[in-house]
């Protein structure tokens, strides 16, 4: 885990003090809402439908157990006893009081966390592969670089007022679990012919009303030149990005209109202006940061665990959980466990203070005290001995968090939608609840297998519906909620944007429509085919025919 240095501590403390003063002046009437709003947004504080919402950054989705306990404490003390994990690997509190927010920020600072740059036209929280450092297929731990980018981008004076918000994702593995092509900049680490590590740099991805997948700007950027190259991209964007039209202000629109080759030339020219070595970190500094992410002291274990094999054979429910929620670890004898926040009928991404505290305990008892937040709104325990998986699963069962559905149809990503969000057109959570209840039969979920279903309450697409195998978008039609379905989206290394299948469904039809889609897949699939493979083979027509049969 990265630990704050003096600079980090000082600036976060300074921000807390500043914001306390700003809140006091707002409450006394010295500041108007127009004056205060940009200040609160700079500290992650939004005003939603029913209350304020505080968005707290979880850098690259990595938390230490004491930090998760603090998040639980904040939920209990200042909120309604729960928090909501988001697709940006952040946590949101839905009910803080204005006067409590400075206290919350001070408490967060105690555990080296903050809410800075979780809003506004700046570089937002850096996201990363939630399996960073432990995935068997990884080239290198991307968090070292995510942390370097975090330090560079935090309060960067030149990039505090960009044309629009700016999102960067980093992965160190060929399997993309960080939706890198869905970000303004995606960095994917790989090795060149000489075995040196570098990044494929992808630019201009984004969701929202104009979903676009990032294009490769550079195949190989040596890791030691990362910051100067990022700086060059940001400078070009800062100069040429459209500030006149909010819908055209993202980097993706600039990449579309300029073309990626022309952008590459501009970036190279800008890059050439940055004197060598003025920005990029010397190797010692990189090593210093990398040391924070050094592997924990794993015990030498055989990869096979007879205790695990025995438990799998003896308990079918546990076997199902292992099948869907346990991922291969790079270290023999260890495993990665996904804790689903999505019990059937539950609210995706929500966790109570008690659940968070219990997970912090489990992370210490069975792991090295580390927890990850995935963009799928689940929690991950990265270092569990295989022998301990059964005990962990039993403990999760007591917490109501042992749903065996990671990567399955009820592992729905859903944004807060119209139940909370000021920008929403339609509700997403109740739709997710209804659909997940519809698929609550474990045998059926296993039969359906790997699939992704994401639901956004408006075209801002916070729930990444464009890149879901089945995407659901809430729209408003003359005052009634309708749900538009897209099929064929993919969020991994083969990223694809889904296509609208036909007219939208109302809130009472949408669960049936999803079932129809699943039925078509089950009827049409060939042996071993996942949903997306069947869709790519047979195309939309068979789904359309069944969905709109009676029209």
């Amino acid at each position: 885990m990265y630990r704050y240095d003096e600079f980090d501590h000082a600036f976060v403390a300074e921000r807390v003090a500043q914001f306390s003063g700003q809140v006091a002046r707002r409450v006394s009437g010295e500041l108007s809402e127009d004056e205060f709003k940009p200040l609160r947004l700079m500290n992650g504080l939004y005003l939603q439908l029913h209350a304020y919402m505080l968005r707290v950054a979880i850098p690259y989705g990595t938390l230490a157990s004491h930090q998760l306990r603090k998040l639980a404490h904040i939920a209990r003390t200042y909120d309604h006893g729960y928090g909501h994990f988001t697709t940006r690997q952040n946590i949101q509190y839905n009910w803080p009081k204005l006067e409590d927010v400075p206290k919350i920020l001070a408490e967060l600072a105690e555990v080296e966390m903050h809410a800075i740059q979780t809003s506004g036209n700046c570089i937002r929280n850096i996201t990363a592969d939630p399996l960073a450092g432990v995935a068997a297929d990884e080239v290198d731990d991307p968090r070292t670089y995510a942390e370097i980018i975090r330090q560079w981008s935090t309060l960067h004076p030149e990039f505090s007022f960009l044309p629009r918000k700016f999102k960067i994702a980093v992965t160190g593995a060929p399997s993309d679990r960080a939706v890198t092509r869905g970000h303004d900049i995606g960095l994917r680490m790989h090795r060149n012919a000489d075995g040196e590590p570098g990044f494929e740099v992808m630019v201009g991805g984004g969701q929202g009303r104009t979903p676009i997948l990032a294009k490769t700007l550079r195949d190989f950027l040596p890791v030691d030149q990362m910051l100067s190259y990022l700086e060059a991209i940001l400078r070009v964007y800062n100069q040429l990005g459209r500030r006149d039209n909010i819908y055209k202000a993202r980097l993706k629109i600039m990449v579309e209109s300029l073309g990626v080759e022309a952008l590459a030339e501009l970036v190279e020219a800008e890059w050439a202006q940055i004197p060598d070595g003025t920005l990029d970190l010397p190797i010692e500094e990189r090593q210093r940061i990398a040391a924070y992410f050094a592997p924990p002291s794993y015990v030498d274990l055989p990869d096979e665990s007879s205790a695990l094999d025995g438990a799998i054979a003896a308990d079918a429910s546990f076997a199902a959980w292992v099948e869907s929620n346990v991922h291969e670890h790079k270290q023999p004898g260890y495993a990665i466990a996904t804790i689903s926040t999505k019990p059937h009928g539950g609210i995706p991404g929500d966790a109570s203070a008690e659940q968070m505290e219990a997970i912090a305990d489990l992370a210490e008892q069975y792991g090295f005290g580390e927890i990850r937040i995935s963009h799928k709104q689940n929690l991950i325990l990265p270092d569990i001995q295989k022998t301990d998986l059964f005990a962990l699963w039993q403990a999760l069962g007591i917490l109501g968090m042992s749903a065996a559905n990671a990567g399955r149809i009820s592992d729905i990503i859903a944004c807060p939608g119209l139940d909370y969000c000021n920008l929403a057109n339609a509700r997403s959570i109740p739709i997710a609840q209804r659909i997940s209840e519809r698929f609550s039969d474990l045998a059926r979920e296993r039969e359906i297998g790997d699939i992704s279903l994401n639901i956004s309450g408006c075209i801002n697409a916070c729930a990444h519906h464009h890149v879901a195998n089945i995407g659901v978008l809430g729209v408003d039609k003359k005052g009634t909620e309708y749900y538009q379905v897209t099929l064929g989206g993919v969020s991994n290394e083969n990223a694809a944007i889904g296509s609208i299948i036909g007219p939208a469904f109302d809130e009472w039809q949408i669960a049936d429509a999803i079932e129809t889609i699943v039925d078509v897949y089950l009827q049409q699939r060939e042996v071993g085919e996942k949903f997306i493979q069947t869709y790519q083979r047979i195309g939309p027509q068979p789904f359309k025919e069944k969905l709109y049969a009676s029209d």
Binding site: H50, A51, G81, L98, P430, Q433
Partner: protein
């Protein structure tokens, strides 16, 4: 909770003023006593656009003095003499999130 009723209000429906309270963001309504209440039942109704304009002006004065944020007009109707919100967004603001959860205390 089902929110099936969200008819499109006709042009000349009654309106009222809602805002968020500065201290906690709570949904509040401007009352006949030029005060604010968390209960929509207490709202002052403006039967026509002229009366609505006056109400909005009044609410904006409150906003300028602090304590309420972003007042605006929304459409209402009366059921047995009690004002109720029209439109899904305002219905949800009146009732709180429609999602049943044991993670949330009732508001």
């Amino acid at each position: 909770m089902s929110i099936r009723t969200s008819r499109i209000p006709a042009e000349n429906t009654a309106q009222a003023i809602t805002a968020n309270r500065l201290s906690d963001g709570s949904v509040i309504y401007l009352t006949a006593k030029d005060n604010w209440s968390e209960r929509i039942e207490d709202c002052q109704s403006a039967p026509d656009p002229q009366a609505a304009k006056v109400l909005l002006h009044q609410a904006q004065r409150h906003a300028a003095n602090g304590h309420v944020v972003g007042p605006y007009l929304f459409k209402i109707e009366h059921e047995n003499g009690t004002p109720v919100a029209l439109g899904r967004r305002e219905i949800i603001r009146t009732r709180g999130p429609s999602v049943g959860t044991d993670l949330k205390r009732p508001i």
